[in-house]
Symmetry: C2
Amino acid sequence: MSQDSPKRGRPPSKAARDKALSAARDILFEQGFGRLSVEAVAARSGVGKPTIYRHWANASELAMAALMAGFPEGGAEGATLEQALVSQLTDLVRAFATTRGRQIAMALATADPDSELTRAFRNRVILSSRDAGRAMIAAAVTRGEIAAPGTVEVVLDMIYGPVLYRLLAGHQPLDDAFATALAAEAAALLSRPAP
Amino acid sequence: MSQDSPKRGRPPSKAARDKALSAARDILFEQGFGRLSVEAVAARSGVGKPTIYRHWANASELAMAALMAGFPEGGAEGATLEQALVSQLTDLVRAFATTRGRQIAMALATADPDSELTRAFRNRVILSSRDAGRAMIAAAVTRGEIAAPGTVEVVLDMIYGPVLYRLLAGHQPLDDAFATALAAEAAALLSRPAP
DNA sequence: ATCACATAATTACGTTACGTATCGTAAAGA
DNA sequence: TCTTTACGATACGTAACGTAATTATGTGAT
């Protein structure tokens, strides 16, 4: 499908799209989410405002698109579950601990939850690590390293939820030490023999 | 301290403050966070705009103040750790699952993290349940119901983080069933014998 | 080559909300 | 009464919104 019309008229300029995204990213890093407006991106990039609105519905979606590019994949490697978790959670925590992290949280919270781009953003930023984690747990179960947990989805929530929690609540630091401790605690609990 | 001046001049009107808060809450529930503006609150409440700015720095702070009132306390009761957790997490999940929940997340993400009111909000909404949880775990340890976990703070993150995680990421439902499953999984993992 | 068409950039517009300043009025203590 | 402080009303300049009209430009079809 989607071979309906072999393209009539002037094609959308990938250059304009990239210039807008790049300007949005610059503004996000330099001035933060609050300063990101469609007008500012238009002014900085030289791309016309209507063109930006042709690509994204509002500033939140533009922000998400800009933040999505260059976000690390969720995968990780390691011989044991704990090693794999440490590696993955360290990457994740580092990505969130930068200025980018709070901006991502803002974009997530602000954006329309049902939007197409919001879903893509969640898949890329939130759920990819989660999927990798699901595979890691399955592998550990097959290895006999841990017993199968009662509800895998809930266990995944317990592993990845804390990262967002610390970012938003800010009650405790979000750093490498936390990533290590979280991986260790999760692995330790899961490694205990099931009754 | 703070007996500096035994009050000169016209005292701030508690009535005006309450009217503004109540109007803000109404707008939040009827139209959501995006529609909450200082102007709208002023128009709806009859309170002057400058008066509102005298009380709160911006719309986010006003929203937090409005949301803070009427949020459930974090406490919970139960003979076993799991029972207490089920009760507490059900309350928490219900509070977040309503429209209010997403608005709270938005206010949290949007507001200045260092603001005075933001800290108060976090204490009230986020950390009170966490503190109750810490007590519940300590009690369960003393009862011999569970072994002492490696890092209590991390375990608390693993219990309460998932709620915010599901709210923001939206990958899985945030409902009573989830509260029950989360409590069960946490209690089951903690109840396993330490190696 | 020329036509039809979709997109580009520019410009302008009406709207909403911002946060501040000024004003005269109202309520308290001195 | 006088002083002080907060009140409501109003007005202001600024910023950004999202849309429309316009002209220019690049591409496939005729």
